[in-house]
Amino acid sequence: MGGLMQVIFDALSLGSLYALGALGIALIFGVMRLVNFAHGDVIAFCVFALLWPSVDAVAIIFAGNLPWFLLIPFTLAVGAGLSVLSEVVVFRRFRRANPATMMIASFALGFVIRYFLLMLFSSRPKSISLLPGLSQPVEILGARIPLLQLITILVTIAVLIGLTAFLRRTRFGLEMRAAAENFTMARMLGVRANRVIMGAFALSGALAAAIALILGSQTGTANIMMGASVMLMAFIATVIGGMGSLAGAVIAGFALGAIATVMQVILPPDARAFRDAFVYGAVILVLIFRPQGLLAARGTKERV
């Protein structure tokens, strides 16, 4: 029983991470058909924003020393700020470009952010201790799980409920959903495009910052590549979920987390190192049968 609960909690917390990432990507894709390859580097940037620039192996914690009630808003603000900045400086000029062009531009932007971090911090991973109180275990239903895992799951659920309420109950959320459905029509009906898009970027950046906090305290290291693997899974989740469908992205994120965790358990020890390769393989299998994704979003189908 305890073992099973352990697996379930592992799957849920890994899935939460992927779901948060997928949500950040799907939000932006929904309003402007941009596949944001820079998302992973925003995650890394948020972790490094807590450190003072130095190329030494030992991290000089700077903003990371803030008490948690200041640390969390600070990180979220950094993520949202960087994301909005990338919109204003780069993506705004690509409004009329085709999705492929925007995608390559975001790929390039991600590299610029990553190598900016490399310039300031070097490419060596640094050990940091972020919110150390969260690593103590708690016992639930016979499974001993780190407090952080529990918080990750709870935070994700809270974010999902909050976001749903925001999208369904507020005017801004309504505008955002309208823009995702049919951007041109929404503009004609008086939705202010720049505001909606900036809102989506800010939300997406804040979600990246949340992932950064979770990853930073989970792994205890800061690495300029740390966002890459979460981002890739998040991408895959958005594709499987049906590009631009928020619910699909979240469901697919949790599903990927579950598949990865289950594979970790059932694969023979020799094959465990290949877990991610098996997950990608499973994804390709899904795409054979449902190339449109599990829940295809309306308005993303190519029309003739």
């Binding site: 492929a100 995608m103 531009a105 990553r114 190598y115 991408f235 594709v239 390709i284 190339p291």
Partner: protein
């Protein structure tokens, strides 16, 4: 008749590009300095990679982030087939016996690398080519990550993340130049072939092309396999140019560099692919030189590491902003005055 006229009309492009590459090789030969030689070899290898990318991306219009995976496959084939059997035994004990005993020359390894990569391109492509647009791009990215994950962990066959050393180094520039020129000719031949033309029709007008009986996934798959073969051969030669391979040699860094060269040169143009390599390689060289430090009077002036990639990224974004179709756009170097591809009136051929 029509068949030969398209050949005559476009043959100038690969000839001009080959002449350009030959000129580069001759300069390197006359200068004769070792570091410069290595730089020119790097440029030829980038030409192979970027032309390989062009063969798929340029003709199909689908952005692929995964082609460097084929270079990885090819690079490891070179390691498997050319390292001395004794050294192979210690680094990669899991190789099958026949592969363990094999020791073939580098050009055969390049062919083998290309074939191996083409086979996997066929396997992956059969699935991936069913997707379209952005989903296809992300799936190619997943393919890259998958290959990287396998090669970084399969320690008995790939020595995991540690570098596999002992690949015979080929220092002469000529084999690389020949490879680059061959890649250019293969890419050109494909793009004027029946499948290449069909694929470009599908890129520009998918609906009309499908209605005219073009099987889009199939022509895309053909391009994918050919470009995979070019990348695989390039990867094997890359291994021979530096004498070692690691999985991370063939990952995001190389993907970024090659893709930026293609974007800057112009995704829809073979000449653009080659020119993009030549232009950005020069830029990278200047930046590397500045990163190493330049003596200005009494003080040394050096840029911090990472500036090279940042500059590359910024150039790429600026090009995408102001000239999204790259330097060459859709036109090719034809030796005549620069002209864009004009539709040929029916009946004039």
């Amino acid at each position: 008749m029509a068949r030969y006229s398209i050949l005559r009309r476009t043959i100038a492009t690969p000839l001009i590009l080959s002449a350009l590459l030959l000129a580069f090789a001759l300069i390197a030969w006359f200068v004769g300095s070792r570091p410069f030689n290595q730089t020119v070899i790097d440029i030829f290898l980038q030409v192979v990679f970027v032309v390989g990318l062009y063969t798929f991306i340029g003709n199909s219009g689908v952005i692929s982030f995964g082609h460097i995976a084929f270079a990885c496959l090819g690079g490891y084939v070179a390691a498997w087939t050319t390292i001395k059997p004794m050294m192979k035994g210690t680094a990669m004990p899991g190789l099958p016996d026949w592969l363990m005993q094999m020791e073939i020359p580098f050009w055969a390894a390049a062919l083998a690398g290309g074939t191996f990569a083409a086979f996997w391109a066929l396997v992956f492509g059969a699935v991936l080519m069913r997707l379209s647009g952005i989903a296809a791009s992300i799936a190619t990215f997943a393919m890259l990550a998958m290959v990287n994950a396998i090669y970084s962990n399969w320690s008995s066959v790939t020595a995991a993340t540690s570098s596999v050393v002992g690949i015979p180094i080929v220092r002469s520039i000529w084999p690389y130049m020949i490879a680059a020129i061959l890649a250019v000719f293969v890419a050109w031949a494909f793009s004027i072939s029946r499948h290449g033309l069909a694929l470009r029709a599908a890129r520009d007008e998918p609906t009309a092309a499908a209605a005219s009986g073009i099987n889009i996934p199939r022509v895309r798959l053909i391009a994918f396999v050919i470009s995979g073969a070019i990348m695989g051969a390039g990867g094997a030669l890359y291994a021979h140019s530096i004498g070692l391979v690691t999985p991370d040699t063939f990952y995001l860094g190389l993907t970024f560099t090659t893709l930026s060269m293609l974007v800057v040169g112009g995704m829809g143009s073979l000449s653009g692919a080659v020119l993009g390599v030549l232009i950005l390689s020069s830029l990278i060289q200047v930046l590397r030189w500045l990163e190493a430090g330049v003596q200005v009077g009494a003080s040394t002036f050096a840029l911090p590491g990472g500036v090279q990639e940042i500059a590359l990224g910024v150039v790429m974004i600026l090009i995408l902003m102001f000239r999204p179709s790259g330097i060459m756009g859709n036109s090719e170097l034809t030796g005549l005055r620069a002209r864009t591809e004009k539709p040929v009136e029916p009946g004039t051929d």
